[in-house]
Point group: C2
Chain length 376, copies 2
């Protein structure tokens, strides 16, 4: 498998929002398509918490990306027309500098000496990347989930950069229910004895804590409705053995087990802790004292907000709140309120509903888009 990833080193000291700094951090990214002569056809994508910058395949790396159906030639974010950039968040572990990276000042991994991460830092790293590519105006910035909050941070810190925003299954802040769930995921990892206060060796990572956290993630990313349709009360194929009283009884348990096994080993535990907490710490109204003050700073002319009825990490009322706020700030806003049953993960799972919306948006077919939208 080839390598499509590119790396940008930000020279000098990178100041973190909440204090502390990084020495010459690296930002990993991928691009698709070509920057046009006016340098004005770029689309920047911020990711959710766990994906890498590999949003889509390319000749250099033909492996399917996490948003393969959305990004590519003749796809909704059409790389025949747009120069698409996907950035691996600062603090992550897929090429960008994060807690698992070596601190050049010490020659040791940062681990918990990594400074507190905010999504504003993720946004600032994205801005430095865009600058380095010689781009001063983006057609759009797109972000699902945590990436949507990074997009909002980008738009409030660098208001002149984005001509439009696409905010998917996200919100202006984390609500206490989501914070409680993420806090518990972090505790599962920190309470795993193998976490060792963050100093685990790379050949003995806190697998148990990561697996539990991933399972809770899977439970909260989807919806009760979907699981009932998929699994019902189906029992696992294996006969229950006597003396094996707490083995997996139900298909839904096997599914979670399978998902957790896939995830483990991919993601560094300390990076997970930092990104998870950055999501909880984000509050757009920190920028000006109120949500409305923050939204008024942004200059994007057009905003597309997409939400899903069954999402309970970023419930639909958070997308209505954003749509209302942007409209109040004088922007052209489209809100799409989807009945997908796949919950928070619908932007990865219910492509038949998401594809046409982004297609209309990136084609500038406002009439077709309006017909898909909800009043708010």
């Amino acid at each position: 498998m080839g390598e499509a990833r590119q790396f940008l080193t930000l020279p000098g000291r990178f100041q973190m929002r909440q204090g502390g700094e990084l020495q010459s951090p690296v930002i990993a990214y991928e691009t698709w398509g070509e920057l046009n002569a006016h340098r004005d056809n770029a689309v920047l994508i911020f990711t959710g918490m766990s994906p890498s910058a590999h949003a889509a395949s390319s000749p250099a790396d033909p492996a399917p990306g996490w948003w393969e159906e959305m990004v590519g030639p003749s796809k909704p974010i059409d790389t025949n027309r747009f120069f698409v950039i996907c950035v691996n968040s600062l603090g992550s572990c897929f090429g960008s500098t994060g807690p698992a990276s070596i601190n050049p000042d010490t020659g040791e991994p940062y681990r918990l000496t990594f400074p507190v991460l905010n999504l504003e830092d993720v946004a600032t790293a994205g801005k430095r990347l865009v600058d380095s590519l010689g781009i001063s105006s983006l057609y759009s910035v797109v972000g699902p989930s945590m990436g949507g909050m990074s997009t909002l941070a980008f738009a409030v810190l660098f208001p002149e950069m984005a001509r439009s925003l696409v905010l998917i299954s996200t919100g202006a802040r984390s609500l206490p229910f989501a914070t409680a769930l993420r806090s518990l995921q972090r505790e599962m990892i920190r309470k795993d004895p193998d976490w060792q206060g963050g100093d685990y060796p790379l050949d003995a990572v806190p697998i148990t804590g990561m697996r539990l956290a991933r399972k809770l993630g899977m439970i909260t990313y989807r919806s009760a409705e979907e699981w009932e349709r998929r699994f019902g009360r189906e029992r696992t194929a294996a006969e229950r053995k006597s003396g094996d009283g707490f083995a997996l009884d139900f298909e839904v348990e096997s599914y979670l087990e399978h998902q957790a096994q896939k995830f483990t080993g991919q993601f560094d535990a300390n990076c997970y802790l930092y990104l998870s907490r950055a999501s909880d710490l984000f509050d757009l109204s920190d920028h000006g004292g109120s949500l409305q003050a923050a939204l008024r700073k942004m200059q994007a002319e057009r905003v597309l907000v997409i939400g899903v009825r069954t999402d309970f990490l970023f419930p639909i009322k958070q997308q209505y709140e954003l749509a209302h706020g942007f409209e109040h700030a004088g922007r052209r806003v489209n809100l799409v309120d989807l009945p997908s049953i796949q919950g928070h993960d619908s932007f990865l799972a219910d492509m038949d509903r998401f594809r046409p919306i982004l297609c209309d948006f990136f084609n500038g077919d406002w009439q077709a888009l309006n017909e898909r939208c909800s009043a708010f």
Copy 2:
């Protein structure tokens, strides 16, 4: 503090539904009020997973019970009129025989040698208790949450015993979403190294696993709406210290921490595992091949079903399903569909809504009750 608990030993071998048996198990219970001359004024209460039989205070034990506002003289379940019995579930650890009890055959605690527990076993133990009190017809059997499933098991196994049923925030089976959450709670306990395959010493119980499981329980017992109103994004009083990057930031995290600390030490980990799994294993349609076949076996004339819109462990559609099914089976059914924001725990928290409903029901004021009910 006095002892109001009484103990009944069931002599001989108690056969468990799914195989295995217990030697002379003990059932702990409390009673309030007096059995009348006709012996027909008894109300039996099955509890949720974690409470003891101490539903209400009494002269012998003045400590407030878990349903203190509901059970007592001139309270909704009025002990001036009714002889109220609350039973500690078989398999629990508050006086009834469970995995933490000594197996008389070995002199050692059962631990994981305790046979697989089903809610039908809990119901059968309740029946033996009622028999021992010389009661052959109960005014009502009442059960919230897991207790509602035990009530359904009781009603299908011993159809002639109950003249009415009160089913609160419960369902005819566990749905896969609830099973996934409970399965994860069990895994948190089992993955705690201190669990030691179930053989933990009593002075070194798996506290970490129990605390994590309790926190997840608290998250799922309440609702996102309630937490937003209660906590918003309030920060904890303590200033965040540098180098203390994963301390508790938000009030909602402190609240969970406090709740988890209260719970730990009260509940035996193995008992928790058995009762949690018994909830997942329950499916009323096992009794006759379909829900309708099971409901047709029951003889209770009147059924009150109460559900809460914000409950996502036993979502409101499960209470509608029960109400429809009972009506189809020819019973008089009242369904109350409550807008409480306290989620699954509303029957413990939103007493102002629950009290009048049970009041009308136990007063036999059907007209007043009808006015509180929803069409279905």
